[in-house]
């Protein structure tokens, strides 16, 4: 079965590109850096599709279920006979699905960047960073060992940091990069502790073994982790919740979402790749990867559900009030990831009740395409207008026909209008929510309506609203910028028709799903109403929207200010943590720790200053000391030490 060894090339090719471009790119390869990066990624993409075809269609299933295959495993650090850190490649439905998503979106972004980043001074560096990111992300999704996940997780964080801070001469970009790094790093602390808890009780770091041990209700590991408790919750709940905190940090779940909107300071294709389609779903992927363990613990799943649902709703409300188009998209990303999270949270493992799991993965899959399309479209618009602000746009539909159509398709897809991709996946999520938790269903339905409202607010503000005021001669951009838009638009229409539930389910067995027209009636009609509302407000220039905004009053202002979450963080850090914890510790460090060391050093210096005169350089003094010593020893041995 292990004839998947060629999968090694998928992450290794971008790594090689990163090394080559990182070392020689700027000096020797700046002309062909983009082509080189794109070509190597194209190879990876083709290999991924080959792997998908082999896995899903050629290899026979065992008892009708897709199996987990360890294609490659190398023990890297052996701590004890059972505990080791391995590097390896796992092949199962979700890793293959993620391979397809990451490589194809990354490829589209590589191609788009050929046009978008053209003429940048650090063009080769940009491609080196993109390759590093792609390598880390691919390594993450193929991990067999939870510590391997953690290492690639950090690598992903680093490359995200580098790419957000790509325009490092801009202070806001530097601040955003720092913020993203610190916030996710803070969350990763939780992840690490979670790994250690699971590893401690499970006695292994291997994901497969962990799942095996913690899903058997009779195993000694499961009994020990569920009976051990801390502050009223079992260690299993603690471990999983901490791991989820790590995932929430990367996936921008409330309250760790504050870095995502700021991360839009990076180049737009980077936002499309990292902050829309791949890295931010790493948290969802992590929960899905450990889902059998999560499904053993109701409390952890409840946390996942409510955090996801709350984030989805909050982000959707904020998105309605933002004016920077990339920030709108950022909040919409956060909202959609919230969808995926709560879909996982309400799911059970296996069989009919695994609908939420399958829906979540499906939404991850379709979302990657239409969200990266939205970002690349926004990139095109920004390239044209040289601004991120909605008020500088309007009436662009005649100037940028390709972008206009692609953007419209993406908006319809994310809004969930049949037959676009988002409709199918969102439908499954709503169905799963309806079957398990009516409150969540209500939130999801409302969020869906909000989603289509703010997406079409964006669409009408960019492409309709007022006559265009933009004049420049480079037009819509070269073909390398249009081609990815066209391909992704085709995906945004087409991928919804993939019979996803046949391939990716919680237990590998195909799941029967059916689209219930009556059930779809409510969400679709809400969506269409919201679109009509957006059209009424923003299609032509009028003051209806301002009137409505002022009618909402304080609520609108609060949403516009992102519900003051940033301010709360600042208050906690600047007013509470710094003066109450930071400064006393700094004082202790300066006066006690440093003081002790300075005391030792000063004492030594003083003593040596006093006695250094002994070494005078005069031979006769030395002779005198020598005779003195002989005399003293003589006295000692003759008279005292008899």
């Amino acid at each position: 079965m292990s004839n998947y060894l060629y999968l090694l090339w998928i992450p290794l090719l971008p790594l090689a590109t990163f090394v080559i471009l990182g070392l020689f790119g700027r000096k020797y390869l700046s002309k062909i850096a983009g082509v080189l990066g794109t070509a190597s990624l194209l190879t990876s993409t083709i290999l991924s599709f080959v792997a998908a075809k082999q896995y899903f269609f050629a290899d026979s299933k065992v008892n009708g279920a897709y199996q987990k295959i360890i294609a490659f495993k190398y023990t890297w650090l052996q701590f004890s006979p059972n505990v080791s850190i391995d590097m390896g490649i796992i092949v199962d439905p979700i890793s293959i699905m993620m391979l397809i998503v990451v490589t194809s979106v990354s490829l589209m972004v590589h191609v788009f960047s050929l046009g978008y980043m053209k003429g940048e001074e650090r063009f080769a560096t940009y491609y080196a960073f993109l390759s590093l990111f792609t390598f880390s992300m691919l390594g993450l999704i193929l991990s067999v060992n939870i510590f391997q996940v953690y290492m690639f997780w950090e690598l992903v964080g680093v490359s995200s940091f580098l790419l957000i801070g790509y325009y490092f001469s801009k202070p806001s970009a530097v601040a955003a990069a720092k913020k993203a790094f610190i916030v996710t790093r803070f969350a990763d602390l939780g992840f690490l502790i979670g790994i250690l808890i699971l590893g401690f009780y499970g006695g292994t770091l291997d994901i497969g073994l962990l799942i095996q041990k913690f899903t058997a209700a009779q195993s000694p590991e499961f009994i020990s982790i569920t009976t051990a408790s801390f502050l009223g919750a079992s260690m299993l709940t603690w471990g999983l919740t901490l791991i989820f905190i790590g995932g929430a940090g990367k996936s921008a779940m409330f309250p760790l979402h504050i870095w995502l909107p700021d991360a839009m300071e990076g180049p737009t294709p980077v936002s499309a790749l990292i902050h829309a389609a791949t890295m931010v779903v790493a948290g969802v992927y992590l929960v899905a990867r450990l889902f059998p363990v999560f499904s053993m613990d109701e409390a952890a799943l409840t946390i996942v559900t409510y955090v996801g649902a709350f984030s989805a709703l909050l982000a959707a409300i904020i998105a309605c009030t933002q004016t920077d188009i990339k920030r709108v998209l950022a909040y919409s990303t956060m909202s959609q990831i919230g969808y995926m999270m709560f879909a996982l949270g309400i799911s059970k493992n296996g069989g009919e009740h695994g609908l939420g799991y399958m829906a979540s993965m499906f939404h991850l899959f379709t979302h990657a395409f239409f969200k990266s399309l939205l970002f690349l479209g926004a990139g095109s618009v920004i390239h044209m207008v040289h601004s991120n602000e909605m008020k500088d746009m309007g009436g662009l539909r005649k100037l940028m026909p390709v972008t206009h159509i692609a953007f419209l398709i993406a908006c319809l897809a994310i809004a969930g209008i049949p037959p676009f991709a988002g409709f199918f996946s969102k439908e499954e999520i709503l169905m799963a929510a309806f079957n398990s938790n009516k409150l969540i269903y209500g939130v999801a339905l409302f969020t869906a309506a909000l989603t289509s409202f703010y997406m079409f607010r964006l669409y009408f503000s960019i492409f309709w609203s007022k006559p265009s005021t933009v004049h420049n001669d480079h037009g819509e951009g070269p073909w390398v910028m249009k081609l990815p838009l066209v391909i992704l638009a085709a995906c945004a229409i087409g991928v919804g028709f993939i019979p996803f539930s046949n391939f990716v389910t919680s237990d590998g067995i195909a799941l029967e799903t059916h689209t219930d027209l009556l059930f779809s009636l409510a969400p679709v009609s809400f969506t269409i109403l919201a679109i009509l509302l957006a059209a009424r407000f923003y299609k032509t220039q009028n003051d209806t929207s301002d009137k409505v905004a002022s009618a909402f009053g304080g609520f609108y202002t609060a949403a516009h200010k992102k519900f003051y979450v940033d301010e709360v963080y600042l208050f906690i850090t600047k007013k509470i943590i710094f003066p109450l914890i930071g400064q006393p510790i700094a004082w202790a460090d300066k006066n006690i720790v440093d003081g002790f060391l300075l005391l030792t050093a000063n004492t030594t210096a003083t003593i040596s200053n006093k006695i250094k005169g002994l070494q005078s350089g005069k031979v006769q003094n030395y002779a005198l000391y020598f005779f003195g010593g002989v005399l003293a020893l003589s006295v000692l041995f003759i008279y005292i030490w008899k």
């Binding site: 005169g613 070494q615 005078s616 350089g617 005069k618 031979v619 006769q620 002779a623 005779f627």
Partner: protein, 104 residues
Amino acid sequence: MNEVPLTHILFVSTTLFFIGMYGLFTRRNIITMLMSIELMLNSVNINFVAFNKYLFPDKLDGLFFSLFIITIAAAEAAVAIAIIINLYRSHNSIDVDDATEMKF
């Protein structure tokens, strides 16, 4: 002829030793210091010979020791004078107070 008592000879050698030591500490000229060291060595030689003669008249160990010391003293004098010549070349002086670079 009366035998000279051992203490007399020891008195001579001790005197010689401390004359040598006094010279080593007070003279600044290296050659004089070298001569003082020779004095001290020879006082030791006298001790060896005297003790051999008075305490173990039938043995020759003390005599051999003094012979060794004389040999080594000759070699040592050669090395010391070579050092002195080098010192003179580099410092243009054979005064020990002029050669005090090796200090703190």
